[in-house]
Structures are given as structure tokens and as C-alpha cells.
Amino acid sequence: MCDNNSCGSARPNMKPVYPKADKYPEFAKLVDEEKSQVDRRVFTDEEVYQAELKQIFARAWLFLAHDSQIPNPGDFIRTSMGEDDIIVVRQRDKSVGAFINSCPHRGNRVCHVDSGKKSRGFICNYHGWSFGIDGGLRGTDGGVYDKDETFEKSEIGLPPVAQVQSYKGLIFGAFDPEAPSLEEFLGDFTFYLDIMLDNDQGGTEFIGGAIKSEISCNWKFPAENFVGDILHASWTHQSGAQAILGGGVDLGKRYDELAFQASIYGHGIESNLDKVGNTRTLGYPDLVDYVFDLSEKAKDRLGEVRARAIGAVSSSNVFPNFSFLPGQNTFRVWHPRGPDKIELVVWTIVNKNAPDHIKEQYRKGVMMTFSPGGVFEMDDGENWEYSTKVNEGYMTRQQPLHYALGVGTLDEERDLPGIVHKGSKNEANQRLFYSRWAEFMKYDNWDDLQNSKVTLPQNKKQQWSD
């Protein structure tokens, strides 16, 4: 930069920047699909982590908010996409805008509160630049910029998230202007999302605010746990289940016939279709009755299989880091905060039409089980922290990890969308999660990503490492 009159002849270019993705074939190889192994560098390496922010979090559709959190113009919440701080705000025309929460002047964080109602706009603390709820620069302080002819207010604003779309009340954002539509990104996985989002005609809402906590683990441990790890439940959660249920985790009498894992584009769900196994762990008999009843009524909307899934022992993750538990009615995001840390944000979802006392029991039930002080979350957190931390040992992190449970269990007959495997005690979804991860490392374009022969079911014939 310079200061004489010949410089400054070109005005600042304040257009938002959306960088192109790259290719990281070396990192993709850290996932060994042949041997069903994952190299521990995916959990520890700073360069791998930076590549994840660029290849995955700057491209994929990421969960932002539920419609019910920001019903009116000016209502907003602050969240993250990867490590980027984001303001999500309802516009006057009822659409939703999302913006990077960093002032284009010196970069200061503009909005500091977690959420608010009917905001008039956002004013930066540093020099008083003021932004509308549409992200545009409205004005400045000091009475000087208006005399500066090179200052073009209309070209300056909080950088917008390139795309914002929603699916049945869930609002997602994508930084990549070239990302396919949200529905294409989700693919047939919407079939499984509807278990939670569309089991009742009134739709859903989030209630009771958010519970936030930090866990010293890599973000992929919780994501892979929710995408398809019921195996840990009978061991890790034995004591919690004992305390609440008076017995171990029960996958139902028809496990062999009903339990499955399904995966599409790395999104995955495992379910035992036992009707109320997850709901039961919240500890309220009224909730169990409510779900039995709901499940009966939902057969028309969802069909037999999904009606059994509403409260069943099950878990799910939408790639990359948005998880939910049917039955326990919690949605959560594992925001990355470095290779060895996450910020976890947890919400409770209920049907809008549910009676008030049922909503209240879900809210309390989630706090008692899946919050930082909840019986199950505590069990999980410690495992993920040590699975991450031990890799500080140089020799330790050279050692292989085993992801081969359920190789050869592909179910080509089952009439369900996705790549379906028999049995929920399986690591098929986890393998496909890491295959998707590797694809994001390997491919620099959406054409390759969306036409993957590995993570997109090919007439149900294709499968990872079978």
C-alpha cells in the first residue's frame, strides 16, 4: 500500500470471495477402503484438518437453524459453519439470510450474542460500521465517509453464505455457490430425515434453547459414532441404561429380521425398528405411550417401517457433522475447533402438535441424557476424548485402526433407499462416512462428488470393500 496521489487509484474490491476447492489425493489415501482401515492422521494432522475446512466445511451443506428459532423478520441466531462464525437472520420477505460474522473493515466480530428477536441490524463495536439484517452496509460513524467519493457503501457488506435452503423446517447453508441444491445433496436420505421431521402433520419445532459444551476430541469421532455405532451402546452405556431402564440396552426381539444400516452420500442411519427403545431411555412412561400412539398414526404418512423407527434404538448423522437421535428427539452439531476439539450444540425437537407436557418431558429427558451432565453424553465424551488424545504419542499414531465389522453384510434385497446393510451392529455406515470424507478430499468438483460410485447406491449393487 502507498500514500501518494498516484496510488489508491483503484478502489478496494470488496466483493465476497468464494475460493475453489482443491484436490488432496494423498489425504484421501488415509482411508484404506480395501483393508477397512483409517489412518490416525485424519484425527490429528493439522494439514489434514485445514484441508477439511476447505474441502468439506467450505463446500458441503451445513445445518444452520430450525425455522422455529427465527420466526419473525430480524430474528437471528449466531452459529458456525466449520470454524466460521455465522449470523443467520430472518429477512423481511420471510426468506433466511446467513452472513459471515466479521466486519469488512478490520474483521472484528460484529454480533456477539447467541440469538435475538426483531433485530434492527448489527453495528460493529470497533468503528461503528452498521449492517442491515440483509448484511448490507447501512452507514458509518464519524461523518467522514460520506465526503469520500471512492467509498461505495452499496458494494460493502457482511459476506453472505452463498446458498441458504431448507428442508421441512431445517435451514442449511453452503459457502459454495456451485453446490447442488440441498435436496440433491441429501439425496434419498430425506426418506430417513422424515422419520423425525414428518411423522405428524403439524411439523416440528425446536424448544428450550440450545445446550453448548466443548469436548476435546476430533469432530469425526462423534460423527462416526452417530452415523452407525450402536455397538458401543451395550458396553459404554451399560451403567446409564441400568440406572434408567433397570437393564441393558435392548435392541428388540426381532433384531435379526429388522435391524439395519443405510447410507447415502455418507449420510447414515442405523435403526433396530423396535418402536420405543430410544424413547424409553428418557425415563418418562408418558413419552413411551405417546410414541406408541404416534407410531400407529404415522403409518399412513410414513409407512410401516418408518413408523416403527420414530422411537426406536437408532442414531443418524448427516454428512459431515449434523447428527440426530430418533426417539430421544435431539439434533446436534459437532462444530470443529481444531483437530482435537469440538463445540457441541444440542437442541430438542418436538412435534408442534404434541401436548405441552410431552414437549416438556422431551426437553427434560434430553437434558438428563444427552447434555454435558446427561448420563449418556458423559459416557461418550470420555471415549472420544481419549480416542483423540492418545495420538499425541508419536508411535501410537502410527498404529492401524480397525473398521471392518460387518464387511460382507450388504443387503441387496431390502426395500429401503440407500446402501443397506444387515444388522445395526455393523461398521458399514462408518466406512461409507470415511469414503465420503475421502471423496471430498479427492474431488475438486460436484460432478464427481454427486456421481460417486462408492457412496451413492448403484442399483444397490455397489458397496464399499465387499
Partner: protein, 110 residues
């Protein structure tokens, strides 16, 4: 300064702020509140931003930049950014559908 014609009164809409430029003087703004016509400088007393880009809410003119709020009638400022004076209104009247005002600039400097 004498009374000058600034616009047709039909141009002034209840609850909206309209910017008017008259040659040779700083931009002015007009609004209607509970039927009455109000004429005032368009430039916010706080930091030289345009009040016509703000809006009217609960009997107050809101500056859209740092959200200073000025009461109709008195011009008293609320939610005041530091150093922001009150707003001053110009004397005006509606003569057969034309609005005339005395644009005494000194009155706006507090």
C-alpha cells in the same frame, strides 16, 4: 430565510420518510405522523447518514444506521449514540396541497 415550496402534500405518506432535494440547500426529509406534516434535515444529527433510509416506529423517526430514535413533535433523541443531539423540525404548513417550510439551518445546529 423565507418560506419556500418543497413538495405536494399528497407526496407525504403516513409513517414513511421521503427525501427531498432542493437546489442549494442540504437534503431535507418529510414525513406524516398522526395526520400532521413534519419537515426536518435528512442528515442524521449523529453521523451524517440519511434519515430517509430509516423508518418510523411508535411515534419516532428511527435512523437506520446506529438506531438513534427521534420523537415526532419534540425531536427528543432516545437510544442515543454518544454525542447525538436532538432532531430539529422546520416550521412548515400545507397551503392548498403544497407544503411550504422555513428552512432555517441554524436551528438544526444544537
Amino acid at each position: 430565510m423565507s418560506m419556500i415550496e418543497i413538495c405536494d402534500s399528497s407526496q407525504i405518506i403516513e409513517g414513511e420518510i421521503t427525501k427531498i432535494t432542493v437546489d442549494g440547500i442540504p437534503p431535507i426529509a418529510v414525513s406524516r405522523y398522526e395526520g400532521g406534516i413534519f419537515v426536518f434535515p435528512d442528515t442524521c444529527p449523529h453521523a451524517d447518514e440519511s434519515l430517509s433510509e430509516g423508518w418510523v416506529e411508535d411515534g419516532r423517526i428511527i435512523c437506520g444506521v446506529h438506531f438513534a430514535e427521534f420523537e415526532f413533535e419534540t425531536g427528543e433523541v432516545h437510544n442515543r449514540p454518544i454525542g447525538c443531539p436532538n432532531l430539529t423540525f422546520f416550521k412548515c404548513e400545507d397551503r392548498n396541497g403544497k407544503v411550504f417550510a422555513i428552512l432555517n439551518e441554524e436551528k438544526t445546529d444544537v
